[in-house]
Subunit: 69 residues, 2 copies
Amino acid sequence: MVTDIYQVQGMTCGHCVQAVSAEVGALAGVDEVQVDLASGQVTVTSAEPLDPAAVRAAVDEAGYDLVDR
Amino acid sequence: MVTDIYQVQGMTCGHCVQAVSAEVGALAGVDEVQVDLASGQVTVTSAEPLDPAAVRAAVDEAGYDLVDR
């Protein structure tokens, strides 16, 4: 299991949390997505390391921006 | 046609706008719902005057609060 923490910009409400959770959660290999609305932190647990570009694309698809680390 | 303007509190994003539009738009007799996110103004056009309690209940169902006028 691999756990990665991403920083997402622009989430303002529970609907935003759901949108990001759904898109990131749909990525192959993702087991769990936890989103903290207040901080914008998205914690993703997956069986294998994820392709950062795929995570970025999923966040973008949901309508938000991944902050570069 | 009757046009009423309501003030809704707590909408923060496009998802919120959609949620309010859907709930209020589903009320009997409603023809059009226009939501201005920045101001929280919800403009409702209906064939006949609406029951304010029904509008309040719809906004509440969407997860937001109608501001008393």
